[in-house]
């Protein structure tokens, strides 16, 4: 347990250790993820209101650092950058006149390891999902592998869920499940208590160290053992948050029921609303689709093989000589939803959704993935 003022010691220790610290900060009326220089860069005293197609920040009447849910950015941006060079290919002509080339991998090592500060349980779950896709298969991605090296994760329980959150039904929050502290690579887990001083204990954090790195971080702060009251207060924060989350994904046998609903008329219904704008895939913390392009420079001599974020909502995502397999919005929406909630299980052995609700908040048409899933399996909102 440590006082709120000690939060900064964590940030400074991480910086001194040579980490690049990324965490939440307010910019342009949104909680985004950016580099933090001190704990003062956190969204102090900010809260948020989220609904399908709606996001607003609001001023809280306390100094809570994490009194909001999630913003449009997720850890995915740091681990799998939106655009990254993979290979440099230099073209040349042999003495005998034939075309040739030399190819070299671009070193994926970042100049500093990243420390993720203020990761939510749903985001920690998403990082594990991402790792399984990109480094857990037969061909581990060198970019993700390099960026995971020396990674530190300081996670925070959720005390102020948004109306679009549904992590309890996905088994990912609002606190880290007991067994996740280590496997998800969370080094330090925090819970923010009493930001408004109402319970008499003062604005403080309960902290659990999950790894040696976490323990070393904790040792850098002025801390003392958490009391029974502290632990009870932390449990109450989480229980209270969970009770406030009403949105529930119908997870019972969901993958099979969605697979059976392949010709459900609801797909036509949502296709009329969906703009195919790709927002949902951009804010989703588990989406991993990318495209690989060989970009030739102006001289024509150097090609950079580049990986860029892509979205299954684009028409050419499924292009196959002559046309796209998913040529309609209906087809593409169905592909996205069934992949996220159903076929991800076949491909990677788990769900692709962590219940963060970003896709619901950031959809300009206000389409609600949970409501669509309910309709497709024949359940209606409670």
């Amino acid at each position: 347990m440590f006082e709120v003022a000690a939060l900064d010691a964590l940030v400074r220790t991480l910086l001194a250790d040579g980490h690049r610290v990324v965490g939440p900060t307010v910019r342009d009326g949104v909680v985004v993820t950016d580099e933090l220089a001190t704990a003062d860069d956190l969204p102090v005293g900010w809260g948020d209101e989220q609904a399908p197609g709606r996001y607003r920040l609001r001023r809280r009447d306390d100094g809570a650092r994490f009194g909001w849910a999630v913003g449009p950015h997720s850890p995915r941006r740091e681990v799998s950058p939106a655009s990254v060079a993979l290979v440099t290919i230099r073209h040349r002509t042999d003495p005998d006149g034939h075309r040739s080339f030399d190819a070299e991998p671009v070193d994926p090592t970042p100049d500093r390891p990243t420390a993720f500060f203020g990761v939510r349980p749903c985001e920690a779950a998403a990082m594990a999902v991402h790792d399984r896709v990109l480094v857990g298969g037969a061909h581990p991605d060198p970019v993700q592998t390099a960026r995971n090296e020396g990674r530190v994760v300081v996670a925070v329980d959720c005390g102020s869920p948004a109306a679009t959150c549904f992590c309890p039904s996905m088994g990912t929050g609002p606190a880290l499940p007991e067994d996740r502290a280590e496997p998800a690579g969370v080094d330090l887990r925090l819970c923010e208590l009493d930001p408004d001083g109402a319970d008499g204990g003062g604005h403080r954090f309960v902290a659990w160290a999950g790894t040696d790195a976490g323990r070393r971080l904790l040792d850098a702060t002025d801390h003392r053992p958490a009391t029974e009251a502290d632990l009870a207060a932390a449990a109450a924060v989480v229980a209270d948050a969970e009770a406030r989350i009403e949105r529930r994904m119908p997870t019972d046998d969901l993958p099979r029921r969605l697979a059976d609903a392949v010709e459900h008329p609801r797909w036509d219904d949502v296709a009329e609303r969906c703009l195919s704008c790709t927002n949902c895939t951009l804010v989703c913390p588990t989406c991993f689709c990318s495209t690989v392009t060989d970009d030739v420079d102006l001289s024509g001599e150097v090609t950079t093989r580049t990986r860029t974020w892509d979205s299954c909502f684009t028409l050419d995502h499924s292009y196959l000589h002559g046309g796209s397999v998913h040529a309609s919005v209906r087809s593409r929406y169905r592909q996205w939803l069934t992949h996220k909630l159903s076929t991800w299980w076949d491909q990677f052995g788990e769900s692709g959704c962590v219940g963060c609700g970003r896709c619901i908040t950031w959809c300009p048409a206000g389409i609600d993935l949970v409501e669509e899933a309910r309709a497709l399996v024949g359940e209606h909102a409670p």
Binding site: L86, V87, I89, H91, D94, D96, H98, R99, S100, F101, D102, A103, E104, P105, V133, L134, G137, A138, H139, P140, D141, P142, T145, V262, F288, C289, S290, T291, V292, T293, D294, V296, G300, T303, R305, R307, D310, C312, H317, S318, Y319, L320, H321, G322, V325, H326, A327, S328, R330, S331, Q335, T338, H339, S342, T343, W345, D346, Q347
Partner: protein, 281 residues
């Protein structure tokens, strides 16, 4: 070698020979330039990502593997020019370099076919990925029953690997039948669809079928095979989807629950049947 920690780096291979098959189809014989460019010996049904001329990579199956295990590790790829990337590959001349990553994907399961009759059903360019299979079936005649090679093409001028078809037809216990969509008078083969050729093939629950061609042809072909008594689990198809990375990261090659670069391209009919019925409208 495919560098384990750099799976997107292309190895440098050279074109040893180029053979124009039709106006838009070319077979390239390619081999690694240096030891460091060598790749694992491929199996029939697999593919490599090929790149040339600074255009993006494309997945191309192996159409010839006779020399793959030999000293120069040469393989054949047969490419149909349908876009800028494939056109760039079809323009390569002997001595030119091309980028190669692979081999990727699942192979045709020949072990499963041993001891029984085999039907190889190919449509159009689909004969290319099946050619190494037929070479193995012919080379190891004793391990299989009757081998029927059924080929569909658009017209007589567009029938691929005519010399190989003629050679295979001379092997004992191997029947080769070719059909085209239409032909000028003088064509001695069939005119009709490749499924009609099943009428003259003896099939049973012990038969194995290898099918490759445009998706509607595989759909009708698989159904016709089942109607003729072939066990659906013994029908192998080769799926095709847009591919960007071939290593299971980019998400483009999804076919329902499958990643075609990892779980395919060769998949048995039961795993594809429901997916082939879905109308992506």
């Amino acid at each position: 070698m495919i560098v384990p920690d750099a799976p997107m780096v292309p190895a440098r291979w050279r074109v040893l020979a180029r053979r124009e098959r039709t106006a838009e189809v070319v077979t390239l014989t390619v081999a690694p330039e240096r030891d460091v460019d060598r790749l694992p010996v491929p199996r029939p049904g697999q593919f490599s990502m090929l790149s040339a001329g600074g255009v993006h990579e494309v997945p191309i199956s192996f159409s010839g593997l006779d020399a793959a295990a030999g000293p120069d590790g040469a393989v054949e790829h047969t490419i149909r020019a349908v876009g800028s990337a494939t056109a760039a590959l079809c323009e390569l001349a002997p001595g030119d370099a091309l980028g190669v990553r692979g081999p990727f994907g699942t192979a045709w399961d020949l072990d499963a076919a041993e001891g029984g009759d085999v039907v190889v059903m190919a449509g159009g360019i689909g004969l290319a990925p099946l050619r190494p299979v037929v070479e193995l079936l012919v080379a190891h005649r004793g391990a299989f029953g009757v081998v029927s090679v059924l080929v569909g093409a658009r017209s007589p001028a567009e029938v691929l690997f005519g010399e190989d078809l003629a050679r295979w037809a001379t092997a004992t216990g191997v029947a080769v039948e070719v059909t085209v969509d239409s032909a000028p008078r003088g064509w001695r083969g069939h005119v009709g669809v490749v499924t009609q050729l099943l009428d003259d093939v003896e099939l049973s629950g012990r038969s194995t079928a290898f099918v490759c061609g445009p998706e509607p042809m595989m759909r009708f072909g698989a159904r016709a095979l089942v109607a003729h008594g072939v066990d659906p689990d013994r029908i192998q198809l080769s799926a095709e989807r847009n591919m960007r990375c071939a290593v299971g990261h980019c998400g483009h090659c999804q076919l329902g629950p499958h990643l075609v670069c990892r779980d395919g391209p060769v998949l048995t009919f039961p795993r594809l049947a429901a997916l082939l019925e879905v109308r992506e409208r």
